[in-house]
Symmetry: C2
Subunit: 474 residues, 2 copies
Amino acid sequence: MLSVIRRCSTSAASKPAVYSHRSGAKTKAKKSTSFSLKTPRGTRDFCPAEVIHREATISAIKSIFTNHGGEPIDTPVFELTDVLLGKYGGEASKLIYDLGAEDGGEKYSLRYDVTVPFARFLGANRISKMKRFQIGKVYRREQPVVQRGRFCEFYQCDFDIAGDYPKMVADAECLKIVDEVVKKLNLGPFTTRVNHRSLLGGVLIHCGVPQEATMSVCSSIDKLDKESWNFVAEELQTKKNIPSHVISQLEKFVRFQGDSKDTLQMLEGEIKSPQVGESIADLNLLFSYCNAFQIAPSFDLSLARGLDYYTGMIFETVLTEDDLKTGSIAAGGRYDNLVESLTSRTKKPFSVPCVGLSIGIERIFALLQKRQENPKTITTEVFVASPQKNLLKERMAVCGKLWNAGISAQFEYKNNSKILDQLQFCEANAVKYVVIVGAQEAAEGVVKLKNMATREETVVKEEDIVEETRKRIC
Amino acid sequence: MLSVIRRCSTSAASKPAVYSHRSGAKTKAKKSTSFSLKTPRGTRDFCPAEVIHREATISAIKSIFTNHGGEPIDTPVFELTDVLLGKYGGEASKLIYDLGAEDGGEKYSLRYDVTVPFARFLGANRISKMKRFQIGKVYRREQPVVQRGRFCEFYQCDFDIAGDYPKMVADAECLKIVDEVVKKLNLGPFTTRVNHRSLLGGVLIHCGVPQEATMSVCSSIDKLDKESWNFVAEELQTKKNIPSHVISQLEKFVRFQGDSKDTLQMLEGEIKSPQVGESIADLNLLFSYCNAFQIAPSFDLSLARGLDYYTGMIFETVLTEDDLKTGSIAAGGRYDNLVESLTSRTKKPFSVPCVGLSIGIERIFALLQKRQENPKTITTEVFVASPQKNLLKERMAVCGKLWNAGISAQFEYKNNSKILDQLQFCEANAVKYVVIVGAQEAAEGVVKLKNMATREETVVKEEDIVEETRKRIC
């Protein structure tokens, strides 16, 4: 495993030293060591350049969320275990981290996503209408695959619309938001595939899939973006015990070649069920709204999405020119029953339909980080230096004044440091100005202000240093 | 317990509806309910106004941290239990949340602070020099006292300086940073008390306190800011078994009346030990640097601070005019051995001296929130409305263009909504402009742009709407 420790060392070593390593050696934690300073399996430290890079990406996404009227909330990192259980489906539930039992008998688990906590928030506060976003860490006890960006602690970045609105309007806005995010971040060409849980369910019934096998068959079909039909058919037959005539029926629909309109027309012609008819009408309405927003998702009957809680429109966005095989960079859908299912066991049942999207922000971080220069991590504008020793307090006094004026500054900590070393720090960190406090100048109540780019030096009265510096920086 | 649920409901109800509650009733979770939607004991949800308020405060503090050359890092929310154990002292260790055991035998615990994770980060990466800040949630299994702001999940906001520097320079910079933070946030008059662990240790030895009782006696003495001398003396005698002649000796030093200079002079005169002499010299140097920074902390021999890892200067900042009895709003100190103690058990021992500060950000949030207006949580600048029905797609098209131009906009979701209801939303959320899409106007390819403050309406060609809106907003 490419350990965190190494990642941080490597990233710092490949750029001008942001902070100093006493040894350049890669300190990969060894298994044989009895005690290790590694982070827990599947978790990482983030170095300054990574944190700053991530914050910039998050900030760009946030501005789109707020442009759509989104409001931020924050929920605890752990929840009552009871709140999380049974919301995600069998496979996912095994990935939940539990905390040690509490004295009072309450059981807690780390959150698996921010969707169920949002539904709990809506239910607990009986909120009937809200556009909310939440960007925070979630936890899954998966086998980490660092190369593929799969970690046990990672960020989720969600926008959801709760409220009882006319059909498909909020759904279309979610797709529009994803479109804006991908374009704003310049992630390159992408496509959004859309399906409807109810339509997929109707097709499965029509093909003769038993009700209890629905989710299981969906999860096989969902693999069609990565696996061949033969692989999926084999899995349906051997692992899921689906009869071969049912599989043939499924194949006809799932592998139908045609654009969104053709496929929906074919389904409407072939399957005469109210469930199918209604969900096709929903999708046609959705596409007409997408048209108004000038976005063009495509229909894909094989899209299923893993989580149990989806009830209506579901979608997934992938980059189409992506050497890194990033996979989906956004996904989401409608979950009209989640709040109700949480509140139905309380004394105050409450229901609110919801639709939302999740930006695959970890994958986006990875993509952008490969593409971009490491950001500057130290933003010091002024360095206070001395060519002679014993001027430490004089430097501190000047630096203190700059800080009081809100100017980003540092001073040399050593009482006796070579001026060249001090200027080298300025070069390495792109510091723009150096205030030089000299013995003679100090006696005269002046300092030198040096422009690092032009090398120009100006003699400035000590009491004017803040004003003169500010003038130059602004 | 004032539950989270109620807090959110209350804060939303007391201001123009940011999001709609179906019922205004306070939905306090009842103990008798078999299933509850509450958050875990001692944790809270944060509503939009709270999140925005917190982010503004954090942003103000961050700008001071970066002005001092600080770089951000991020570490996992849980750590290997081994990393945390034995770092905080007996009482604190009991407050650590453990996660359920992992298959691989690794044991994890939620982080108790961000200092030990920083020390682990330094040790793992062998970083010999760094100014880092970290703002994140930490976890303590305390008995929550909501009224006093004591929670089990709360933010810590730390700035630390790692590096082998001349004595007391970085220590003074930490005190300067705290001074800037308190002033920038307008928290009112404050005082910073400073002590030296080594000086306190030397005084205890001089008084005859047995070595093994040092930490325990310190924790009693630390209560002198809240409790009387009699209370502390009683505790020392009955609970800590300190002989009364030792307590009398302690009293002489701890209760000495005088300013910082007098007290240090008295100690220097009374106690002839190299340990005491050296730490007094350290403190005098620290005060001379503080003088250069134009800040004036005071010496207080009774300040002890709870955590085991401190080795040198320690400090605590309290507000002096504070009706809310907030307690300390910043604290910190020097911990020169923490990194070494972590790495000494690995195959690559490494040492780096550190000094740092922690801003009591939760207390500051609480103080500022009481004082300030709730911030605007929806920042929509333009609302796209219709006076007639069946213009939904036309509204969507206009809104889509505004979003594409990065303008914050929303549209009415309903196909048939009263124009008054739409304008009421704008009033409630201080929306500045309304684009009115009318049937006749739509036929003519124009819309109306209404200024909500002046009520002025302008007819604008649909293709010019983005430009005309942007002109007005900027």
